[in-house]
């Protein structure tokens, strides 16, 4: 008789083999479970299939632990042996082992899946599916904008129906809470523009134009676009995640069944709050951009604070400030609308919330840049 023992695994087993002519007897002792399944499976298989046999008998009398995975492996060993024309029987099973073998059903093991896994490598299918998604997204967005317009018109006619408390809450969230980061980013942007332009302009002795360049760049372009991107990252994503989580928790369905218009209830306060705060944040960012530029102006260009400020406002017209604020307002409407719309698209689970939150930020930034390009051309001809 030969014996194999495994000691490394937390479940220890011993297998003894005895041959009588071409009949193999396998005696199992110890613990047989998932943790040592790979080891005992290969041990037994090696012994059975290394030579021609007339029969195999697996004896369970010394087993002290058996789990369902181990039982399944032993059933598979028996099946493989029978497939090789070697009769195989499992003997001396106690009641516990019999109970464990009773949970293994051939029907379940061979049951075909009700649903097949889709082949993600099919390029044409993916292109088609993506095209359909884009069309569906566009349709959803247009529908949502329509719903939003209807809701806003309703609120204009019935201002008391607007939840002003919510508007103020989101003004605080999107605006007041965002002041520190907008100030820091604005100041650093002004500082960078001033420093870079100073390096170039000093070569032709045109340092005096640095303040106006900074203020012009900040007010006309960088202020609105940079603030909008920050708000898209902070608030657009938060709107999508908040509404998305509510959709998963059936809170949106609850609102609808209670007779509330979910767009009016959830989206309008967010959109209005963002439209209120983004122009203010833009002015704030412009101010800190000029302050940032002033640090370079005063420390490196030998300009006085008064001269820097005079030079900064010299070339700025009221039209520039007004267009900057209009742009900020439009960007705000885009950010909040896309954030809310993506939130409403969430159907189930954490992954959907993540997917649509990311999508809200990406789509908002894309739309901001597209809108800015349109404004650039439009304002040039005005």
């Amino acid at each position: 008789m030969t014996t194999q023992t495994q000691k490394d695994s937390p479940e220890r087993y011993t297998i003894s083999y005895k041959r009588e002519d071409l009949n193999l007897f396998i005696y199992l002792a110890g613990e047989f479970g998932l943790k040592n399944l790979a080891a005992f499976n290969s041990d037994i298989n090696r012994e059975i299939f290394r030579q021609k046999l007339n029969s195999v008998t697996i004896d369970f009398s010394e087993i002290c632990y058996l789990d369902s995975a181990a039982a399944l492996a032993l059933v598979q060993i028996r099946k493989d042996a029978v497939a090789q024309d070697i009769p195989c029987q499992l003997v001396n099973l106690n009641d516990e082992a019999k109970g464990i073998f009773s949970v293994i059903h051939e029907d379940a093991l061979n049951h075909p899946p009700f649903k097949s896994v889709q082949d993600d490598d099919d390029f044409i299918r993916r292109v088609g599916q993506s095209s359909l998604y884009i069309m569906r997204d566009f349709k959803n967005f247009v529908t949502f904008i329509g719903d939003l317009m209807v809701a806003i018109l309703y609120i204009i006619r019935h201002p008391k129906t607007l939840r002003w408390k919510d508007v103020l809450f989101y003004v605080q969230r999107a605006g007041v809470d965002g002041l520190p980061i907008v100030a820091v980013i604005g100041a650093l942007m002004g500082l960078i523009i001033a420093f870079m332009s100073f390096l170039q302009l000093k070569m032709i002795g045109a340092n005096i134009y640095v303040p106006s360049l900074v203020s012009f760049a900040m007010i006309k372009e960088l202020g609105p676009i940079m603030t909008a991107i920050l708000v898209a990252g902070r608030s657009g994503s938060a709107y999508a995640a908040e509404i998305g989580t509510m959709a998963v928790n059936e809170e949106v369905d609850a609102l609808n069944t209670m007779g509330f218009d979910s767009v009016r209830f959830l989206a309008v306060p967010k959109v209005l709050a963002t439209i209120i705060v983004l122009p203010i944040l833009t002015v704030y960012a412009d101010f800190f951009g000029i302050i940032g530029g002033m640090i370079i102006g005063v420390t490196s260009l030998d300009l006085t604070i008064k001269t820097y400020i005079t030079q900064s406002i010299k070339n700025i017209k009221v039209f520039d400030i007004v267009t900057s604020l209009i742009k900020a307002g439009v960007f705000a409407a885009l950010i909040a609308s896309i954030g809310c719309q993506k939130g409403f698209q969430v159907r189930s689970g954490a992954q959907d919330v993540g997917k649509f939150t990311t999508s809200a930020v990406v789509a908002a930034i894309f739309l901001i840049v597209v809108a800015d390009s349109i404004f650039a051309i439009m304002f040039y001809y005005i």
Partner: protein, 262 residues
């Protein structure tokens, strides 16, 4: 009389949140192969006890010994080994929504074993067969009903053939027929595999049907007030807190506190 083997020993366990003592000096054993049901009114600390027993929460004091190892003071390696020996079914099933049922079940098998994918596939099919979900491996959790999600949760909890299964509010939110099916599944699994089960619930029908032993917790007592077989507790207990629970009798409120619908 055959001595019952103990698999978990809870010793002098105290849980508190700040000054609020949830329970203190709780002592009990879980015996191998039994279905132990922990019952009690909402807020008595059942779920806190369960969280401590599965290693998700640290108690204020005390020990939880699994086969001699205290999991409260255990290092990460010992805790990891303990986690491989237990399975947990959370109240909502807690299946990962981004994965199919098969992927949910593959996760622990791939993490803790070095089995071939074909063997893992067979094990998954077997476990799904055990919970009557054969063929549903490629479904996402969102495509299944509440009862099916619970059964899939049980299949995932059993993926590693744990020695102990913990259930938090087993049949909460399920219709009576589905709840009965789930109870049958629990009994069948316990009888066939001999898996020890610790179940937190307050569904009376379920308790009578599945419990080998009941431990009843009470908020005021800050611990257990009764232990025994459910029918024995119902018939023989003299404690009004126990009888009111098992007989579903709500203590009468004074007239001035009642609100009538006219």
């Amino acid at each position: 009389m055959e001595e019952r083997k103990t698999i978990i020993v809870v010793k002098d366990l105290t849980a508190r949140f700040g000054d609020n003592v949830v329970f203190e000096d709780v002592n009990f054993q879980v015996y191998k192969g039994e279905i132990l049901v922990i019952v009690g009114a909402s807020g008595c600390g059942k779920s806190t006890l369960l969280k401590i027993m599965i290693g998700l929460q640290k108690p204020y004091a005390g020990q939880v010994l699994y086969q001699g190892t205290d999991i409260i003071s255990a290092n990460e390696k010992e805790l990891d080994l303990y986690r491989q020996n237990i399975g947990v079914l959370f109240q909502s099933g807690a299946l990962f929504s981004s994965m199919t049922i098969k992927e949910n079940m593959e996760l622990p098998l791939q993490e803790y074993t070095n089995l071939d994918p074909a063997v893992i596939d067979k094990i998954i099919k077997m476990k799904l067969g055990m919970v009557n979900l054969a063929g549903y491996e490629n479904y996402n959790p969102s495509e299944l009903s509440g009862g099916m999600r619970k059964r899939a949760g049980i299949a995932r909890a059993m993926a590693l053939d744990p020695r102990v299964l913990f259930f938090d509010e087993l049949s909460a939110g399920l219709d009576p027929v589905t709840a009965v099916e789930l109870d049958d599944l629990i009994i069948k699994t316990n009888e066939a595999l001999g898996t020890t089960m610790v179940i937190v619930t307050h569904e009376l029908e379920s308790i009578y049907k599945i419990a080998h032993r009941v431990l009843m917790m009470d908020k005021e007592a800050k611990g257990f007030i009764a232990e025994g077989k459910p029918l024995d507790l119902k018939k023989n207990s003299t404690d009004p807190r126990v009888t009111s629970f098992f007989l579903r009798q709500v203590p009468a409120a004074p007239d001035e506190q009642r609100y009538y619908v006219s």
